[in-house]
């Protein structure tokens, strides 16, 4: 056990925890004022739901002893045998409990990301059941494939340092499925869904940026040089993406916007996540810079294709995550992390193919499972709020409160 590593992982876990309330503000500012609390609630309460799920069975399904590379066993259910001593496989210099709670925060934020796709129209009961089922049957298996000892993607050699496939592609493609299955908001096409509080969104983006240092650097699971590298490339990629996004919108629409700067920063953070432990600072400028351009294009998709992904989860997380996963296959270097692999630009073209396989399987699995889960929840409780409730807004009709009073 190492005191420095333990301190670092526990503090990183706290940083990642803060990302979920940060996301609540990021999303909360982008909806209309009548839905601000309902939207914040969807992220905030996942801290409750998934924490309990993770302790009871989620952690065991994700990281428990492997079964055929597909899923972890239930040996660690209720954290049985997960204690004060280090695990023999994960973060071997920190208490097993510290690794577990660090991973818990990842499991929490992933379903919270999806909520942006069905914002302003989903029933609270349906949302809770969906979240629990999605975490159990989509997040936990994918997490095991990529990070669990024996997981098939890990054995295949797919690189995902901090959750490009596990967190961003899985949630981003689930967001697409959700936007399609749940359908458009009332008045789509004729109503202007203007963000009601952009400063709130900027505050949320700043909290996300801050928390992301725990997300990526903390994924080194040790207070070492690799953690410092992850910290640096995370910051650099976010900076580059914020700049390239506002450059894109200046070219396209004439003026740079603060919402664009915040969106770009988040897109850069998403894109650098899988490669943060494998690429160097100069590569991260390219990854981040292109993330701003590609994700700006990504958010244009929804008006072209006609689905109502309310807060652009697909454009930012699915598109940005995919770019990041593939970019890892291009820019990864064993000079940065000897435990990893070289990418295409460092003489190993196979890595790009492996990354592509990991992306494709994650997308297909998450999309299909999300559709099935949503159809099931629709049968049990119904997915959508009534038209009248949607008109009144989530805050008053789902929670009997309002965000703002005179």
């Amino acid at each position: 056990m190492n005191a420095g590593d333990t301190t670092f992982v526990i503090i990183s876990a706290a940083l990642v925890m803060l990302m979920t309330p940060g996301l609540a503000l990021f999303y909360g500012g982008m909806v209309r004022g009548k839905n601000v609390l309902g939207t914040i609630m969807q992220s905030f309460i996942i801290l409750g739901v998934i924490t309990i799920e993770w302790v009871l069975w989620g952690y065991s399904m994700s990281f428990g002893p492997d079964h055929a590379g597909i899923i972890g066993g239930l040996d660690w259910i209720g954290l049985k045998g997960v204690g004060l001593e280090p695990s023999t496989s994960y973060g071997t210099t920190v208490p097993h409990l510290a690794f577990m709670i660090f991973q818990c925060m990842f499991a929490v934020i992933t379903p919270a990301l999806i909520t942006g796709a069905f914002a302003e129209r989903m029933k609270f009961s349906a949302f809770l059941i969906f979240t629990l089922l999605w975490a159990t049957f989509v997040y936990n298996p994918i997490c095991h494939w990529v990070w669990g000892i024996g997981g098939w993607m890990l054995k295949l050699g797919a690189l995902d340092f901090a959750g490009g496939t596990v967190v961003h592609i899985s949630s981003g493609i689930a967001a697409l499925a959700a936007a399609i299955v749940i359908g458009k908001r009332k008045g789509f096409g004729s109503t202007a869904y203007i963000p009601h509080n952009v400063p709130m969104t900027i505050t949320g983006a700043a909290i996300l940026w801050f928390g992301w240092f725990g997300f990526n650097a903390g994924s080194a699971l040790a207070a070492n040089g690799l953690a410092a590298n992850a910290f640096v490339v995370t910051h650099v990629a976010s900076a580059a993406a914020a700049l390239s996004w506002i450059l894109m919108e200046t070219i396209h629409r004439g003026k740079p916007t603060t919402l664009g700067a915040a969106s770009g920063a988040v897109a850069g953070l998403v894109a650098i996540t899988p490669g943060s432990g494998f690429v160097g600072p100069v590569s991260s400028i390219i990854i981040g810079g292109l993330a701003g351009v590609i994700c700006y294009g990504g958010i244009m998709l929804k008006s072209r294709l006609g689905y109502d992904d309310s807060l652009d989860v697909v454009g930012v997380h699915c598109v940005g995550g995919t770019w990041g996963a593939l970019a890892t296959g291009l820019f990864a270097s064993k000079a940065i992390n000897p435990a990893g692999y070289d990418g295409l630009f460092f003489g190993n073209p196979m890595q790009l193919w492996i990354q592509f396989v990991a992306v494709a399987v994650t997308m297909i699995f998450s999309f299909v499972m999300t559709v099935i889960i949503l159809k099931l929840v629709d049968l049990i409780v119904g997915l959508r709020m009534t038209e009248e409730d949607e008109e009144k807004g989530m805050d008053i009709s789902l929670h009997n409160e309002t965000g703002y009073t005179i």
Binding site: A192, I194, K255
Partner: protein, 112 residues
């Protein structure tokens, strides 16, 4: 007695308020309002998507005054709220039947 309701550009409020004070206007009521006239809204862009916003933020000033100073008041507001651009606003003049100061019960001009 007359009531003047003026819809003006928000950044012109201070200038108008100071101008009215020079005429001896002792009180006024201000509200933040939204609406449109010939300016007919403006466009806003969020994440590359363009929205037409019909209602533009304005300030409404309401002031009740002695009819004798009405021409001066109209001139002050017209001068001070003027930019020459579309959307400068409008002034409405209404007759007032009675004014009562609640604290003392005074009525008419005395109560303004």
């Amino acid at each position: 007695m007359k009531k003047v309701e003026a819809i003006i550009k928000p950044f012109k409020l201070d200038a108008v308020k100071e101008g009215l004070a020079t005429l001896g206007v002792k009180g006024l009521t201000v509200s933040e309002v939204k609406g449109f006239g010939r300016q007919h809204g403006h466009k806003e862009i969020y994440r590359g998507a363009e929205y037409h916003v019909d209602f533009v933020p304005k300030i409404k000033i309401e002031v009740v005054l002695d009819a004798k100073i009405l021409p001066d008041v109209i001139k002050v507001i017209s001068d001070r709220a003027f930019t020459g651009q579309i959307g400068d606003g409008k002034i409405f003049v209404l007759p007032v039947e009675e004014v009562i100061r609640i604290r003392t019960g005074e009525k008419g001009i005395e109560a303004i």
